[in-house]
Structures are given as C-alpha cells and as structure tokens.
Assembly symmetry: none
Homo-oligomer: 211 residues x 4
Amino acid sequence: MSLAESHAGDGRVRDGRPVRGRPRSEAVERSIIEGAMRLLEEGVPLSELSIERIARTAGVGKATIYRRWSGKEALFVDVLRAAEPPDPVLPGTSMRDDLVVLMEAARRRGLLNRPSAILHNVIAQMKSSPKIWNAYHADVVAPRRRTLIEVLRRGQANGELRADVDLDLAGDLVFGPMLVRTVMRPDAELPENLAESIVDTVLEGLRPSAK
Amino acid sequence: MSLAESHAGDGRVRDGRPVRGRPRSEAVERSIIEGAMRLLEEGVPLSELSIERIARTAGVGKATIYRRWSGKEALFVDVLRAAEPPDPVLPGTSMRDDLVVLMEAARRRGLLNRPSAILHNVIAQMKSSPKIWNAYHADVVAPRRRTLIEVLRRGQANGELRADVDLDLAGDLVFGPMLVRTVMRPDAELPENLAESIVDTVLEGLRPSAK
Amino acid sequence: MSLAESHAGDGRVRDGRPVRGRPRSEAVERSIIEGAMRLLEEGVPLSELSIERIARTAGVGKATIYRRWSGKEALFVDVLRAAEPPDPVLPGTSMRDDLVVLMEAARRRGLLNRPSAILHNVIAQMKSSPKIWNAYHADVVAPRRRTLIEVLRRGQANGELRADVDLDLAGDLVFGPMLVRTVMRPDAELPENLAESIVDTVLEGLRPSAK
Amino acid sequence: MSLAESHAGDGRVRDGRPVRGRPRSEAVERSIIEGAMRLLEEGVPLSELSIERIARTAGVGKATIYRRWSGKEALFVDVLRAAEPPDPVLPGTSMRDDLVVLMEAARRRGLLNRPSAILHNVIAQMKSSPKIWNAYHADVVAPRRRTLIEVLRRGQANGELRADVDLDLAGDLVFGPMLVRTVMRPDAELPENLAESIVDTVLEGLRPSAK
DNA sequence: GCCTAACCGAGACGGTACGTCACGTCTTTTA
DNA sequence: TAAAAGACGTGACGTACCGTCTCGGTTAGGC
C-alpha cells in the first residue's frame, strides 16, 4: 500500500529473506511524513522541501529516509496519500447519487490543494519522474477511474445512462470540469453545489430520453 | 509577449529608460531557446535540463541567460511557447465549428506533450513557481479561455446554445474531457475525431431543444 | 596547529561539542594540500590556483575544501607550511653559531621561493586578507621572531652582545639583509656563506669591545 | 614614466604612428586613479577593488581603462606611485646625513602603508604578476637602490665607510631593518628617530676605525 | 565648416570562479 | 543491525569579474 518498503512487522520478512537485526521503527516513518506535512503547512514552497530539510525537521538521518523511499518523489507520494481524505463510501441508491458523491470527493481534494499552501502541486512534481507518476497513477488515480467507470456501467445497466454512450468519454465529461477548475483555473470557485451542477448538466445530455 | 526582457530594438527603450550600451542580440536569445528545445528533443529529462547545461549547449554564458530570464521556470515559459503551434484561426461559420477547431488545437498540443520527450510536463514544473505560473496563466491560458467563452457567448446569441446555461460551466464541459486525457490519463488515446466527439456529445445536452 | 578545522581524531571533540557522525578523512586533507603543491610545482601561477582547480586535481568536492578552510587564503597558509622545511635545531654553542643557523634556515626558505615556481609569493597573497595574515603571523612569523630575540638575549647574558643594545633593533639588523634579498631583490644571489657574512658583519658593530 | 600608454599630447605620436582622431583625455586618467584611491581610502579591501568597480566609481567605461592599462596590476602601479611622496632631495653634507634622509623617506612610505587602509599591500598584489613586478622594480625599486649604493660609494670615497666593505651588503644592512618593520612586523613602531638609530648603529660597525 | 578617426559611457558577450546547497552514498558511534 | 550524524564526490545554483566587443554619441585635428 505504502510506497515505503515494508516493515519487518509485516510478517517478519522483507525481500523474501527473513528480517534480522533491529526492526525498523514505525514511529520514525510517521515522524518523517508528519515532518514533511508540517513544513508544507507552514508554507514552505515545495521547491524548498528537500530531503535534507525533512530529515532535519523530523530529527532523522538522511539514510533512514533513503532506506524507505527511493527519492524525493517516492516520498511525496506517501505524503500526498497521508494528506488526502479517504475515498468516499458510495450510497448505491442511483448512478446519479454515486456520481455526486465521487465528484464531491474530488471537489474536496481540490479545495485541499487550493490555498497555495498544502500540496499545491505535489502532483505536478511527481510527473517529473515517470516511474513515480506511474506508481501514483496505478495506486491512486487508476482505482478512482475504475470506480467511476463502474458506476457509469451500472447506470447503463439500470437505464440511467444511454446504452450507446462511450463510458470513457462519459467519465471524462463528468470528471473533466472539476479537473479544469482544480488544475487550470485555480482562481475559479468550487461552490458547494458544484458536484451536483456538473453531474446533472452532464447527465442531461446523456440520459436515454435525450437521444 | 516574451517573458525575456525586451530588446533594444523594441523601441530603443527598456524599463522606461532609454537603452544605452551594446544592444542585446536576438540571435543569442533564439539560440538559447533552440538549445533548450534540442536537448528536450534528444530526450534529456526535464529534471536534468539545468541552466548550466542549456548555456553549454547554446554556447552562451550563464549570465547571458540570467540577464533575460529570472530563472529556470521563466525560461521554460518561453521554451514552451516556442514549441507550441500557433493559436488556430476560427472559421466563424458556427459555434460548433469554432469549438471543434479550438478543441482540435488542444488535442494537437496534447499530442505534443505525449511521447515523454518534448515538453512532457514543463507545465507541471512551472506550477512550482506561483509567479511563473501566473505569468503563463495570464499570457497563455487565460486568453485561450477568453476565446472559448466568447465562442460560447456567440453561440448563445445565435441560438446554438441554451440561453440559461452558465458559460463557465459550459466551457469546462467542453475543455475538461480533453484535459483529463492530456493530464491524468496520458495512456488514453487522442484519436483524430476526438474533438468532434467531445463537442457534439457536450452540445447534445446543451442545445436549446434539449431544455 | 593546522588552520584546517581539527579532525575527530583530535580528541573526539570539535567546537566544544562531541564529534558525531562520520569523521573527516585525514587522507582527503593530505590529498588537497598535495594537489595544490603539485599544481604549484607544475608552474601554475598562483593567480590561476583556484579552489575549483585544486578540488579537481585532488579528486575532491569543493564543499570538502570549504568544510576545512574558510577560503583560498586560509588554505594557502597550510600549503605554505607544508612546503617549508622544519625549523632548525639550534646548536647552542654560542649566540653567533645559533644566529648563523637561524639565518641559514631563512636563506633556504628564500631559495625555495626563488624559481618563480613553488610558493613564489603565497606570502604576498596572504597579506590581502588581514585575518589570514594575522593567523600566519601568529603561527609562523612570531615564533621565529621570539626564537631570534631569545638567542640575542642569551648572547647579551654571556657577553657576546653589548648590553645596551636594543634587542628588537638587533634582531632587525640580523634578519633585515636576508629579507631584502628575498623580497625586494629577487635577482640578488643567496650564496652559501651569506648567513655567516651577515651575522659576522652585524656582530662586528654590536660586540662589547666595539662600544 | 607612467605605465599608462602615452597620450596624444606626448609628442603627437603613439606606437610609431602619428596620432589621429580624438586625443585621450588626461582628466579621465586622473579620475580613474583618484577613483581607485578614494575606494582604498574608504577602506575597500584590495581584493574587492575590481576594474569593474573602479570604472563605476570613476564614472568611466571599462574599455577606457583597458585602453590605458593592460590590467589590474598595471593600474595599481600607477595608483601606488600617485600615493607615494616624491623622492627626497639629498643634503649632500655627508654619507651619514644622506642615509638618514633616505631612510626617513622609507619610514614615511612605511607609515603610509600602515593603517591597513591605504595601499596596505598593493605591492604584495603586484608580485602576483612577474611582468608588473618587474616594471615596478625597474621604475621604482631599482632607482632607489642605485641611489643608496651611490651614497655609500661616496662615503667610501671620503673615508666615512670602510673601504673593504661590500656595498651591496652594506645597503642591505641599512635598508633591511626598515623593511622588516614595514613588511614583517606591521605591529612594530616606526618612531621618529628610527632612521637615525638604524643608520648610526649600522655605521658603528662599518666605520674605518672599527676594523 | 566638414570629414573622419579615435575617443567616450554603457553595457552585452563567452568565460571562469566564487561560496552555498542538495543530491544520494558512505562511514562512524551508539543503542 | 538499525538509527543519527555528518563526511564524501558531484554538480547546479545565482553572482561577480574578467577582458573583449559593439552600440550611439562626442571631440578633435586636417582638409
């Protein structure tokens, strides 16, 4: 789950070999991530968030960080994950309701990224390293996408969505407007009813009767 | 227009004061940007694209770069601009046609960013520096947005678009799907008819008769 | 003794705090000084003896040099010390013999400075930085001066030197001629019997019977 | 006389070719040297006395300096000369009186170099460049030396100095003590009667009766 | 009174070195 | 054997000068 290499506690084994010697301290791992978060909250720009500084803040040796993460970006993935709210539980009452919940979660993540303070483009940094981006994509982005597509598929099955609509395109239509406001128009508002507005407007054009 | 400080040739004035001394060479400026482009085309990852290396490649002193740009990000803005195709000319035959042309341009820009080679995420890097991002946003992103909104407004005027639709939301609905595929789903295809598909699908839900 | 900050080995303490972490390598320090010496021996003029070049020659990072010396001049003090022959042992048979030994050592140092090759004026460079010059003066020049004055004092005590002579002036009379030839008349010869000539001529005017 | 290339006014010729075009301004040359002097008087350390800064201070273009002097050190020679008092007129009443006057002039030059402010080791800097040092030596040091030796020769002729004494050594004996205090012991005092003390003490051992 | 060469101030130019910082690895001691 | 500390080689950062080179704009003769 975490990009950090697993602990001895995770079954007394690492890399296939039995773990010997002093086990890694989970407290240390927490204090590293919390140190990074604290710095971000204090307004330290991401470009000044060096491994060296995180180690200093967390009172930890650099080697202790490199023992767990391959580099700055890999660490940021876990910092990002720690900062995000957990994935929402879908009500399952209808495709429309499920979509609203998904988009509302996206809106809240967007809000988090806002005030130029916390995590305002950790994601951007990550794209510098294809390896890391792929890891983040596989672990975080892709599952959300799969959930979205699945919700749409169920909508097609129960007649809430036109049968001839391409699910990928429909997913993009729903998620796109939120992404635009989050990534390209950071000055744009994210009002409370935004998720509903988007979903309803998009569904307007995709409902079976609209054919 | 360019983020580089203007040349003597631009009216014999810089910063309000008359330009004295040897004028800056436009050839030098071109060779800097071309040097950076060449490195990117050769597959040098953005993280290794240091000012030092660009200067070496362009056969130019570091100070000559810093004389024109405040730092790496400011330079990248101009590199990015130089690499992008020019903004398209709108046919003006209809809102639908104009939108297709705008989205087709966005698709082509997205294609450029693809092969992990050129400019694969210069834009991501820029967001690290709010100042630079704001400059890029004001100079490049915002004008495109204004054009998009204007096209939609004309569509509303001539009855192609429902009168009660929020233009900002409509703009996001049109542009969002392309952004999703470009930024979050770089594995997604950008087929030739993508612009048309998106525009037509979105307009389906927004046309007056759909009310 | 050295101007370089002391090693962990020098008592397990630096700057009052106990030394932790990886200790500084003495081998590295040696290779830096030897690298600088090698360059000087190869005829590199002092003005081209940059920290950057020394680091390159010694196969060492610049930071490793700055960790030990505050700058170019401080490093040169230690280079100078490493190049100089050790202070001579005084025979103690008479003031005259001791003086001859001291002056012969000065003559040999002067010879070293000659052929425009080694250390031809490191000392001159040092005077550019009062701080460094003071350090060199306190560590190297002053002790030699004290030795010289002490020898003269013993001569006064045992009747080799007039009792009413000012020791400072006498010291300058003995050392001055050698300094003139070393510093101001680098074309002048430093023949083997120079030390004896100077000492005997000076003592001629300062011996008790001359009163 | 000056190391600066000669003016048009100096005979309507330069480099063998007749001088054409606008003649060099002597006022500019003065303002350059005065600018350098002012900076030194204001306590700017020699190491920070760049050509660039001198040009700025004097309100002069860099090229205007390089047109006159080959580099920093060549300029310093003329700055040094401008700062030194003129050579003294010898009374000619006796060798002893002439020597006292010469040494008093040396003492006053030494005083100039004192307060760590003005010219405190311009001479040291010059030694970095053999070419410049040779020029300074030939123009300034050697003539003084010749004068000193000549005075001593006249003393030998009129019986003030022993006939078998080596004039070079005698010169060094006289000048050496002053040099020591000026160059190696900058903390040493230079009392008003120092010149007399040195000359009289040295002559004590060199007068004919002392043989 | 004009021509023209050389001067002048300003500052751009390709370089090189500066001293600092962060990278990721390594070598100690301590636990 | 992990962990904290910090030294290590590497290399980029942004600044300052180097000495040379253009610029536009003066000054002087010599015609």
